[in-house]
Symmetry: C2
Subunit: 459 residues, 2 copies
């Protein structure tokens, strides 16, 4: 009977053919945000469905209010089933003049550093990453005649424009899409040699509030020294949100935050991420986060409060001597663990209201939020995938948290009741969403091998 090494050998032997198939996929300009490319999006969906059929899955292109969704599945009665999610749509290519070669004519070249890369829009995000999974299925099928687990593949065509049709599709197809665990290949490695599994996503709470004072803008000469200035009030409130140690002072803010297990924190500490390394590339050098937390904790497992925008009074050229009637802050709060957006929104409201001086009112926009998503650190599937990645890369994968919300993962948890393993092979320099997007051949190749190992391990 054929073993794992035979399958991995098939991946190696078939690499050129895999790249040829990926290149065909990359040639389709499936730009989802531009209605002019709607037919190309459908063509990409049909290409993906044909690929799934070729792999032995029962595949369909399903219409939605927007671009279609592709669903394919095996039903071999295997004891376990995985749901793989990815997307076939890509970002626009502007500014086109900054591309070295046309974005939809894939180019494979070896760089001065000896590394081979494939350049095209979607080379990494997400066509290349999706193909690591599909080519792993192909190798498994071709060598062993079957897959170690039953597989459902879900590919959407609106990820780059906010996935407007996906929640309704997911809710309507819940039974069909249910699996033991979800797999997403749309994230990155820790570095070119070290794989990563994204095990937590911070949730988010958006809100906006406006402090109002006088019922009109006032002349600062006539009223200055007596009339309440809402910008001053807002500044005082925002200044009170963090203490000198970077901790958020809103009562109850940390109530539902969980401490990460010691072994996770030990593993993070071992990575030795420094502020210089993380912040240096954007012109900063010192972290402003909670002083008693490591940098990785600060950006991954701790909640944050950020003012994303603020305005009040005159903001044009020159000066205008007014005491403005109002001042506004747009705020986002990153949530972790069990923090409830509604509860945190209420705590913020109380915090602000308690600090309102005489003559001021505050109005809040509707708070809009989603909870954090966390793969339980003791999840057996997480351990299996981690071991499989370690075997492929020769390094223990890093369990990373992402600050960016990926709403689909929360929906998998809440609607379909399953955890998601986010495993991807992108690199920081892949220029995703930018001109000259690329995917390293090594990432594609070892990524494909990784999925062979992971699917075998999850069985």
């Amino acid at each position: 009977m054929a073993g794992l090494d035979d399958v991995l050998g098939a991946v190696d032997a078939g690499l050129d053919a895999s790249l040829a198939r990926l290149s065909d996929f990359l040639r389709i300009p499936s730009i989802s945000t531009d209605p002019a490319y709607a037919a190309e999006c459908r063509r990409a969906a049909e290409f993906a469905a044909a690929t799934l059929t070729d792999l032995g899955l029962a595949a369909q292109v399903r219409d939605t209010a927007g671009h279609p969704v592709v669903v394919g599945r095996t039903d071999t009665g295997a004891p376990r089933r995985v749901l793989f999610y990815g997307h076939y749509d890509v970002q626009p290519v502007d500014p086109l003049e900054l591309w070295d070669t046309p974005p939809f004519e894939p180019r494979i070249t070896k760089g001065a550093d000896g590394k081979t890369r494939i350049f095209a829009r979607g080379a990494c995000d997400d066509k290349g990453q999706v193909f690591t999974f599909l080519e792993a299925l192909r190798a498994l099928k071709s060598v062993t005649g079957k897959l170690p687990v039953d597989v459902t593949v879900l590919l959407e065509g609106e990820e780059e424009c906010g996935s407007p049709s996906l929640p309704a599709f997911l809710a309507a197809s819940a039974d069909e899409l249910k699996a033991d665990v979800a797999l997403v290949c749309d994230t990155g490695m820790w570095d070119p040699e070290t794989p990563a599994i994204t095990t937590s996503l911070r949730g988010i709470l958006h809100t906006e509030f406006t402090i109002t004072g006088a019922d009109r803008d006032l002349h600062s000469g006539l009223f200055g020294g007596a009339a309440r200035n809402p910008i001053h009030v807002l500044s005082r409130i925002l200044a009170a949100v963090h203490d000198d140690n970077g901790r958020v002072t809103i009562p109850g803010f940390y109530d539902d935050v969980r401490e990460m297990p010691q072994e996770v924190r030990d593993a993070w500490d071992a990575l030795g991420l420094t502020a210089e390394a993380f912040l240096g590339p954007v012109g900063l050098s010192v972290s402003t986060g909670e002083k008693d937390r490591s940098l990785i904790e600060q950006i991954q497992s701790r909640p944050t409060f950020e003012v994303n925008g603020m305005y009040g009074g005159y903001t044009g050229q020159g000066s205008k001597t007014i005491i403005p009637s109002s001042a506004t802050a747009k705020v986002s709060i990153r949530l972790v663990a069990d923090q409830d957006p509604a509860k945190i929104a209420a705590a913020l409201k109380e915090f602000v209201t308690a600090r309102l001086p005489a003559d001021c009112k505050v109005s809040f926009s509707k708070a809009d939020g989603s909870r954090a998503v966390l793969v339980p650190p003791d999840s057996p599937d997480l351990a299996k995938a981690g071991k499989a990645l370690a075997e492929e890369w020769g390094r223990t994968p890093v369990a990373i948290g992402s600050g960016g919300s990926i709403p689909i993962v929360g929906q998998f948890r809440n609607v379909l009741g399953m955890d998601t393993l986010l495993i991807g092979f992108g690199l920081d320099d892949d220029r995703v969403h930018s001109p000259n997007e690329k995917y390293d051949l090594n990432c594609f190749h070892k990524g494909t091998r990784s999925w062979v190992r992971i699917l075998t391990a999850l069985a």
Copy 2:
């Protein structure tokens, strides 16, 4: 020899004729800001010059880069000379449909309250006020054959559009315009029964500063919790500017502030101005000023720090999850007494810079400022004018400070070396700059009588 009562009697007897002359002046639509009315501005200047000539002054219409300036003077060898300043231009009349009668067809009517008023654009600001002075000259001249002091009258035509041509004219005509004291009739009464002399004008310092953190806007999910947020930094700095007692904490801020004499403060206290009365009409009720100062002190004789505008990050609709690269505050500081704009600008710069955390930079715009103007409380001319007003109105005039800067007054002090008495008869409800501008007949009549008394007293 004719006495003061004879002159006042002439004012009374000639009131209808005075109003007829003012009405002729009001019929000229001398809107300075609209080039379409340039010829009307010149016509108003010529009307004013003819009026001055009629009063026995040597008067000329002088060209400037903009609308002309009118200068008239007597040279009788009187021991003292006053310079009277006013303006012949008026504000635009939009929205025209809100006027009860056409703005340049003066209407004199008695209201339901029994008070007679003259309605027209410029009825108060400043044609009506200028005419109180000119009609006082007329009465003095007609009864006594001469004026008690030599008089220089300076009427400009660009006051409503920022007086762009006046500084150069003043500098070039300094010798000609020099006098013992300047008189300006472009301010208001304390209330309809109580006259006022504006004896101090706060100076002003405009500046703007921007706090910069990272060299680009950052994703608040990826960097939130670690990267410095310039909005937070700016909020902390602005929150530190005032202490809990409303006092500005910038070191040295109050160094050159003078205490007003006890008698001035006693007089202010006696007025009993309450926060309810002053702030109620704009929807406020409590003063935020220095707790140990009376409301009048706060708005008249104390320096203030106000943020007129603030912005940073995303300020459009909805949300954008960024940590902005920068945040900006536009600030104006009202100056009093001997405060030096350059010194205060330097103190602010040091205050902000000292509070900059790691990784932040700050850049300041060029600070632009003018010193406060103060008529010395022990000025003999101030005392004489005050006594004259008290005799006319039966009430001691209120010495008020104005927060608004009137640059011409600073120039009279700095270029011509003389103090200015700002004495006007406008009321809060005169709708200056608005539709249905009016001037109370009582203000016009007793204003004219007031100037007769003041000019006699100043001799």
